[in-house]
């Protein structure tokens, strides 16, 4: 995939439900099955298919498809299927940058359309997120943002492959929850779940937020402050607990939004209300609706 700067999002939204999925697996057989299902569907719909490998050799991807009865070589030859290494494509520069990556999706989708395909579908092996790659700590922020910033605007279907042999269960759970559709093995719910809202820009946080979940809260805060949408909402209906540090991080994110109105907090649970009583200065940047 070529590298390019951010392209402005076209106006309008397309239904994005079901097009950004987490796929959790823990053996090669499961991997091959998910791969075959995904590629077969793409070929049938006349879409361009990109596979971004992390630890899997590109040749192995093609062999697995061939073994599943798919004419992978033919698809590669006519330019419909491409298998490349993330390290040579979107991770080739100075590391992972969510903003740059979002721009790349716009470019790649446009190129697929220009080449006559009905859409773009991509598989990404996400195991690099557990290594010390520059920017890897922004992976959750990225996963949280793209539902609204990419899938709501582009005819793109993407499956994010999470191999439990290469990433710890806790991290897989947090990342998988940032997708609205899940495939593969069930994953245990993390202490704090953060997901995009289905029908409007914003995030849903549920569970228990504390010092132990600070990375997930920081990612949520980064997703809120970096989002392009003029109004962001935070649905906290199922949040059982939040500590002062987490609320302060979210309030800082709200304060950092360019010219935006305050962050709308829906269904603020009692600990949020109590902390806003104790720290009224945070109240100016978060607007608790249905108070």
């Amino acid at each position: 995939m070529p590298r390019a700067g951010r392209t402005a999002a076209p106006p309008g939204r397309v239904p994005s439900e079901g097009r950004h999925s987490s796929v959790v697996f823990s053996d090669d057989r499961q991997w091959a099955e998910h791969l075959a299902v995904f590629v077969r569907a793409g070929l049938g719909k006349g879409e361009r298919i990109l596979y971004f490998a992390d630890t899997t050799a590109p040749g192995r991807v093609l062999r697995a498809l061939t073994d599943a009865g798919i004419d992978a070589e033919g698809a590669v030859a006519r330019g419909q299927l491409s298998v490349s290494a993330a390290a040579q494509t979107y991770l080739a520069g100075s590391g992972f940058d969510p903003d740059e990556m979002i721009g790349l999706w716009f470019d790649a989708t446009r190129e697929a359309s220009a080449s006559g395909y009905r859409g773009l579908r991509a598989v990404g092996e996400m195991s690099w997120g557990a290594r010390g790659i520059t920017g890897a700590d922004r992976l959750l922020e990225y996963e949280l943002r793209i539902h609204e910033e990419v899938f709501a605007h582009l005819p793109l279907t993407a499956w994010c492959f999470y191999d439990r042999r290469l990433m710890c269960d806790e991290y897989v759970s947090v990342l998988a929850d940032a997708h609205l559709t899940h495939r593969g093995e069930p994953h245990p719910g993390p202490a704090l779940r953060v997901s995009p809202l289905v029908d409007r820009p914003g995030l849903l946080m549920s569970g228990s937020a504390g010092y132990d979940t600070r990375d997930a809260v920081a990612a949520a805060a980064a997703a809120l402050s970096g989002a392009a949408a003029p109004q962001m909402e935070l649905d906290l209906a199922a949040l059982r607990h939040i500590d002062a540090a987490s609320l302060a991080l979210l309030a800082d994110a709200a304060a950092g939004r360019r010219d935006g109105p305050p962050l709308k907090v829906r269904q603020a649970p009692s600990p949020v209300r109590r902390l806003l009583q104790l720290f009224p200065e945070l109240d100016s940047v978060v607007e608790v609706v249905d108070r």
Partner: protein, 317 residues
């Protein structure tokens, strides 16, 4: 230690830190001693805060002309947990500004305080001397002579100046605040049946959920449970951040209240930690301890060389 000669209670007080204990035996003595202090402060246009037990408020209001210039606070509520009083006093003094003389009446101990509360209130009295050292603030602390001997004896150690409505004098028993704080670290009684939850960083969420479920089963109201969980969440995360990466949470039911104890290998280097309103965004500065003091009915602190013990009390109402 500063020494004082005979000091008048009212007019002529210097624009320096002044922290007398007033011992009173009757309502008349109370109104005389406290009333004259407040009247003088009002007449000299000081910023005045009176924080005394609720039943004394109407008496004093009536005795003070210009009472609308005074901020009146029911200490039964605001000072239920003695550990939160100093934050209120410092906030009041800060709001008055650097160049305004501040006069405060603070009565943190009343007849009926439990011994545990009285020890934490004594610690608070000692810490006043550290917090306001060198500032133009006068804090008069009335002590009912019906209080236990031990409580009254401590007042002589925590106040540089002592007296009765007639005359004030330097306290010969005034003691370094750090030493008083150490003396307030009375041995804590062992609970009969405690639920024990060891935790590390990975177990923090589980510890919070256990604390929430246990308190619900023990009958704590939803509003108090929110506070209970906020306090325990801050204390356990402090153990992980500053107390050796782990700790032990114990919970038990006592006389009309629930108690959570958080024990770790931490140190509390500054006894004033958590006794000043923090910036909610600052990761240092005692935010967690301040929250505990605000939301709990009592916080007992034992800072020893081998570690830190916090006991958070929440009344069952």
């Amino acid at each position: 230690m500063t020494t004082y000669g005979p000091i008048p209670a009212g007019p002529g007080r210097q624009a320096a830190f002044y922290h007398p204990a007033l011992f009173y035996g009757t309502e008349e003595e109370y109104l005389d001693g406290v009333g004259s202090f407040v009247r003088d402060a009002v007449s000299q246009e000081h910023s005045v805060l009176v924080a005394v037990p609720g039943p004394s408020l109407p008496l004093l209001r009536e005795a003070v002309e210009g009472s609308e210039h005074v901020r009146w606070v029911d200490m039964h509520q605001a000072g239920r947990n003695p550990g939160r009083i100093l934050s209120m006093l410092q906030e009041f003094a800060d709001q008055a500004g650097e160049h305004t003389q501040v006069s405060i009446v603070g009565e943190p101990i009343w007849v009926g305080r439990t011994p545990a509360e009285a020890w934490e209130a004594t610690r608070h009295e000692a810490l006043i001397n550290l917090a306001f050292d060198g500032r133009p603030v006068s804090i008069l602390c009335p002590y009912d002579t019906a209080l236990p001997e031990e409580v009254l004896a401590q007042a002589y150690r925590t106040h540089p100046v002592v007296g009765d409505p007639g005359a004030y004098r330097a306290s010969s028993r005034y003691t370094d605040p750090h030493e008083v704080c150490r003396d307030c670290d009375m041995p804590l009684p062992e609970p009969q049946d405690a639920v024990v939850v060891p935790f590390g960083e990975r177990g923090l969420a589980l510890a919070r959920d256990r604390a929430d479920r246990w308190a619900a089963a023990a009958g704590l109201s939803p509003a108090s449970r929110t506070d209970w969980l906020l306090a325990i969440g801050e204390a356990t995360s402090n153990s992980v951040r500053h107390g050796g990466g782990r700790g032990t949470l114990r919970m038990w039911r006592a006389d009309g209240e629930l108690v959570a104890e958080i024990r770790d290998e931490g140190l509390l280097a500054d006894p004033l930690t958590g006794r000043r309103r923090p910036d909610p965004r600052a990761t240092t500065g005692g935010r967690g301890v301040w929250i505990m003091h605000q939301v709990c009915d009592l916080v007992e602190i034992r800072a020893a060389a081998q570690g830190l013990v916090l006991r958070l009390h929440m009344r069952l109402e």
